[in-house]
């Protein structure tokens, strides 16, 4: 029931996004050129820096052009492209071990660069999910940028469709919601498919504290 409501809400949000938009980009070609030029002048090159991170792929370019409110057709194209690029664990199991998942749900992104405290390139990275979402009801230090996920599996069950949706959503949030504010954690290489499968179990498994 709640799941249906969420789906309905998601559909409504998408519809609202689709309707409210004129087809004209907010950032026109001239402004984009100006912004690109300013960005090229404003970040430091050199040791522990990485200017390639400023490049935007086609999806982000479209999102930026429309300030995340892309017209319906473009939204569909983005979701299709992002969904196609999803990779799965080698063993095909989308549901890993919830205890390991809990660890990676908590752990921060790492991946910092620059002159101050850059992270080692091979530093173990987590999804930093609590930054934006609740989960285990005992954890009170959660952010609110994303929807609360406490009771996620209890509300939706742990069927194959839910597992697949959850895995894919974490791998690439934009496969389901073009220009979602959630980082594309698998797609951008922050989390491996295996880590995502563990996190999926943490959200979905009936044994996980998320669902107690």
């Amino acid at each position: 029931m709640k799941f249906k409501q969420t789906l309905l809400l998601a559909a409504l949000t998408l519809a609202a996004n689709g309707v409210a938009i004129a087809d004209k980009p907010v950032v026109d070609a001239k402004l984009k050129a100006q912004v690109d030029k300013i960005i090229a002048l404003s970040f430091l090159p050199g040791e522990n820096q990485d200017l390639s991170r400023l490049k935007q792929d086609e999806t982000l370019q479209t999102c930026n052009q429309y300030r995340d409110n892309v017209p319906e057709k473009m939204a569909a194209a983005i979701m299709e492209r992002e969904a196609k690029a999803i990779k799965y664990p080698a063993d095909g199991k989308l549901m890993g071990d919830w205890k390991t998942g809990e660890k990676y749900y908590k752990m921060g992104f790492a991946y910092r660069i620059g002159t101050v405290e850059p992270d080692k390139a091979d530093k173990d990275r987590g999804g930093n999910c609590y930054a934006c979402h609740s989960a285990d009801p005992k954890e009170v230090a959660f952010g609110t940028i994303g929807p609360g996920l406490t009771g996620y599996g209890k509300l939706r069950g742990s069927g194959d469709d839910i597992v697949k949706y959850t895995y894919e959503k974490i791998y690439n949030a934009q496969a389901y919601n073009a220009c979602s504010q959630m980082p594309r954690l698998g797609h951008n290489g922050i989390l491996t498919p295996e880590k995502i499968a563990h996190i999926t179990a943490f959200l979905v498994s009936p044994d996980s504290p998320v669902n107690k």
Binding site: V27, L31, F43, L44, D68, Y111, R112, G114, V116, V140
Partner: protein
């Protein structure tokens, strides 16, 4: 020395508490932060004043002839009207990029020298750098003055427009823009409350009126350039260059969104 101030001792103890307690105490904490006599930013400002008036650099000159927009040496209220376009540098400059211009042009420092070390590192137990102290001093002379950056020159309008676009521009491995965290009311990241600087004037004013600010968790004064660098660092981007046109554009956008509120300096924050 600053640790002998009792109010501050309480403040310094707070960040160590558990998260729940931290939230419960947030009100008391905020109130304590209002006590300006306990604000070590004042001491940093005093050091900045001495540095400002001392003859330094290859040209053995003080900064007293630096024009912050209201005329050479006119400091009262000048910070409140930044960023603005400057004819001599042909750029829109915020307080800190203006300081770089004056330190190179008037005092003869090389730009590389000025930029070598702009922020003190609290983790290395350093204190504020000279340029941080000077910025705190110049800004403090706008305490009580309403934020009111000019929007006449074409370059000022351009900086504002680019700043807005940059604020919403997503890039980096997290797909973040400033707007991911700062475009909705009453959001939190973990327990950090986030301001809405895109659509909430009150939020933006409350934030902007207290920069530069004494950051209790750092034990030193922080400036807007440092905050812009910090948020870009959090976004997993390369270092945002001090005084770069991108940083100035972002500060223009934030300052215009905060227009009308009286500065309350030095600020004090978590």
């Amino acid at each position: 020395m600053r640790y002998t101030i009792p109010a501050l001792a309480v403040l310094l103890a707070l960040p160590g508490l558990g998260h729940t307690q931290e939230m419960v105490n947030a009100e008391a904490y905020r109130e304590a932060l209002q006590d300006k006599f306990a604000n070590p930013g004042t001491m940093v400002s005093d050091r900045g004043e001495i540095l400002f008036k001392t003859k330094r650099g290859p040209k053995n000159a003080s900064l007293e002839k630096c024009d912050f927009g209201l005329g050479a040496g006119k400091l009262e209220g000048a910070y409140a009207q930044l960023p603005r376009y400057f004819k001599d540098s042909k750029k829109v400059e915020d307080l800190e990029s203006r300081l770089v211009t004056c330190m190179t042009k008037l005092q003869g420092f090389s730009e590389a020298d000025v930029l070598k070390k702009v922020f003190g590192n609290q983790k290395e137990n350093e204190s504020n750098t000279d340029i941080e102290a000077i910025a705190m001093y110049v800004a403090s002379l706008s305490d009580g003055v309403a934020i009111n950056p000019p929007l006449k020159h074409a370059k000022e309008k351009e900086a504002l427009k680019i700043g807005e676009a940059l604020f919403f521009n997503r890039h980096g491995p997290m797909d973040f823009s400033c707007a991911t965290c700062h475009a909705q009311d009453e959001k939190r990241i973990r327990l950090q409350e986030l301001g809405n600087y895109a659509g909430n004037a009150k939020n933006t004013q409350d934030t902007m009126k207290t920069w530069p600010t004494y950051r209790v968790s750092h034990g030193m004064v922080r400036t807007l350039q440092s905050r812009m660098w910090d948020c870009n660092w959090q976004m997993r981007l390369p270092d945002l260059a001090y005084g770069s046109p991108g940083s100035v554009a972002l500060i223009s956008f934030l300052s215009h969104n905060a227009k009308g509120v009286a500065l309350d300096l030095p600020g004090m924050k978590r």
